[in-house]
């Protein structure tokens, strides 16, 4: 389950798991970005890590830590928006 972390002054961020150290690929992806296909049902959900606020603590969440459970992942436009 998620590990707690101590926040510093930098805004913590996460990202896809298994990327980050291959800058060449990033450039390659950028030129193809407009053709990025929507993810497909019946295929693996892309793994990611993300800092989170949970029950009063700051924790690191990793999607693959939830294997064995059903997960509902809800994106939304922003905190303090109206809907």
């Amino acid at each position: 389950m998620p590990d707690e972390f101590k926040p510093g002054c930098a805004r913590p961020t996460g990202g896809p798991v298994g990327s980050g150290s291959v800058p060449e690929k990033v450039i390659e992806q950028k030129s193809q970005k407009e053709e990025r296909p929507m993810i497909k049902v019946g295929k693996k959900a892309p793994d990611f890590t993300a800092p989170a606020f949970h029950n009063g603590k700051f924790v690191n969440v990793k999607l693959s830590d939830y294997l064995g459970k059903w997960v509902v992942l809800c994106f939304y436009p922003g905190d303090f928006t109206f809907v």
Binding site: P12, G15, P37, I39, A50, P51, A52, F75, Y76, V83
Partner: protein, 152 residues
Amino acid sequence: MSAVAAKYPEFQKLGVEVLSMSVDSVFVHKMWNEKELSKMVDGGIPYAMCSDGGGKVGTIYGIYDEDAGVETRGRFIIDPDGVVQGYEVLTPPVGRNVSETIRQIQAFQLVRESKGGEATPSGWKPGKMTLKPGPDLVGKVWEVWKTDNAFE
């Protein structure tokens, strides 16, 4: 997101974990929970509110709006094997129907438990009839299932 929080006990009963995600920092999540959401739902938000500054996660899920710099309303149902079973994406002004998400999870769970032996027809809810796909059912769905069944 408060509507999802209100139904969290129901999600838990179904063995479902909820994760929310926006581009806001964890600090803003804390404040939103404290200043507003905890006044809408007893005890505040019970699930992890994830932060996706830069939209890197939203981008791989295909729901990050680069022009606006925010995530659109994408909702993904992921099964215990980590496989995406369903998703829905809405533009920001229209909210989700949480009850429909729960209904879909119940349907996906039934199909999974039956190892694909049963399928849930349009408008299925727990307690309603399922279909058992096989050679005998080909061309015979009209005998066992009526369109009215989808709408009650």
